[in-house]
Symmetry: C2
Amino acid sequence: MEMQQVRYFLALSRTLNFTRAAEQANVSQPALTRAIQQLEAEFGGPLFHRERARTHLSELGRIMLPYFESIQTQTEAVKAHAQSLRKLETARLHIGAMCTIGPAMFSDLLLKFSRDHPNVELQVSDCAAGELLERLADGKIELALFGLPEGPDLRFHAVPLFKERFVVCVSPEHRFAQQNVVRVRELHDEAYVNRANCEIFDLARREFRGRGAFVRQVFTSERDDWVQGMIKAGLGFGFFPELSVTDPALVFRRLVDPEFVRTIMLVTVRGRPHSPAVGAFIRQAKSFKWPSDDNYEAMPEDDPLEALAVA
Amino acid sequence: MEMQQVRYFLALSRTLNFTRAAEQANVSQPALTRAIQQLEAEFGGPLFHRERARTHLSELGRIMLPYFESIQTQTEAVKAHAQSLRKLETARLHIGAMCTIGPAMFSDLLLKFSRDHPNVELQVSDCAAGELLERLADGKIELALFGLPEGPDLRFHAVPLFKERFVVCVSPEHRFAQQNVVRVRELHDEAYVNRANCEIFDLARREFRGRGAFVRQVFTSERDDWVQGMIKAGLGFGFFPELSVTDPALVFRRLVDPEFVRTIMLVTVRGRPHSPAVGAFIRQAKSFKWPSDDNYEAMPEDDPLEALAVA
DNA sequence: GCCGAGCATGCGCGGCGCGCATGGCTTCCA
DNA sequence: TGGAAGCCATGCGCGCCGCGCATGCTCGGC
């Protein structure tokens, strides 16, 4: 059974006349005749009763008709859908975001992109860094929002978007709240509330120890709301990307000597051809005016609160 | 877009490996590769990302997949259905019956056929003689139960099943009820209750007049129950096929000088190939022992009541 | 009895889908 | 680090098949 035969069958079932069906299908009458004969041989019985002016579907043909119509419908639908995708009329863009990256910085970009491309459906899923790269490689997502001190390996291509400092986050009653900045060595023996999903803290802890700062880890959770709740309750300090501190009752202070910074990047698979929607998103992300874009470098190291007021 | 391409696409979407997909589809790997390339050219974008061990569906491919699966499903379904029809596993038999033919004589045949061919669905529709032949010619029905004094024209093929007399039908109080038979000339000036659907009465009326019998038509209805009700009420006499007198309160008497007889026939379209179900039905109808089969010819003309007792 | 409509058939051609062989590229492993 | 193996693309020639053209066959209508 071939597509041609389906088309010819449907044309004939409409016209009930081999000659006119052939005209509709843009083939010669013998070609259509033989195609129908083939179908009939395949199905083991006549699909039409040939009776000159009274040619009509046989019982077998009547039964087969809905199937052929369904096949034809699906075939046209798949072509139409492909056509609309080519014109970016309808598309889906799967974006993965590391779960430590909050929506705050991206909502404006996503909103703008969504308005400029109303037919592109955005789908954001979050996961840990390792899983993110795996899903990117598998093609389950086309783009990843990635934020670690170093970019991913060479399989991937990364567009840096902006940098984000890590801060120490405490309750207003904590002694750190009285300082402008917190130095790493001051963290020694402090109670530490851990975010289980924080990919960077293992690196940071080594850095801390190199400076003689050994923290006491007193709590761990995968959930940022629980972590922030415990910090607010005074359990200890937290180590957060600046933009991930969402609880307004918390106080955060810059961590210095040394500073910890991560770069938020837009990551794709190197060498993989991407859809128009991906290209459009990357262009827009590159040209987007990120809030900290032009004043982060100029931020005075000793007056973090003023700098933070900008963001 | 060709059926092969659909099959190849689905094989590849399962294996995610061109070589193994080609094996599944029983073609060489280059053949499958080129088929996929054609599809991609037609759809204007890649369906798969080729990445050695990580080959996977592209976004476009993921969107197209359900369509292709649907097409494949329908294609398999149509083949399976054709296969089951060929084996008479499932079939429908459309039978048309002239509305003047009651079910009484056929219920046994239909019951037997239905039990012998449990997968054949019988569908009986009734209509007038002219419409019957038209629907037969159009292929809307495969078989017709036909009952007129003469068979249909040469376009059709008729298998006679049995003969049926026409009778005069009256209320028990009518004077005809006192007679064994009614002669046509006795009908002169009698009140006649007409069955609108009776195709034969126009012929009979001419015959009556040739014998000097002019009847007074006092009532007409398409519905046999109304007609029989009026006769029972004593309005007049009716002209019925013997087996169509269903009201037990009515009396019927043979009409003679001349007799009117119709032959009940099984009619098909001449030269039209018919399905196994039609063939099976005709064979069974021919071999069926019709109640009046062997004693109708022997029926004594002057003792109709005895003969009728047989039927 | 001629003519036209309607479908089937004979025939030769051209395209295309195929397999085979091979090439480019990467990954894995010794 | 070089060679082998896996994976996909490409070049090439062949053979099938679906096509159009021409024609045949059989009805039905004037």
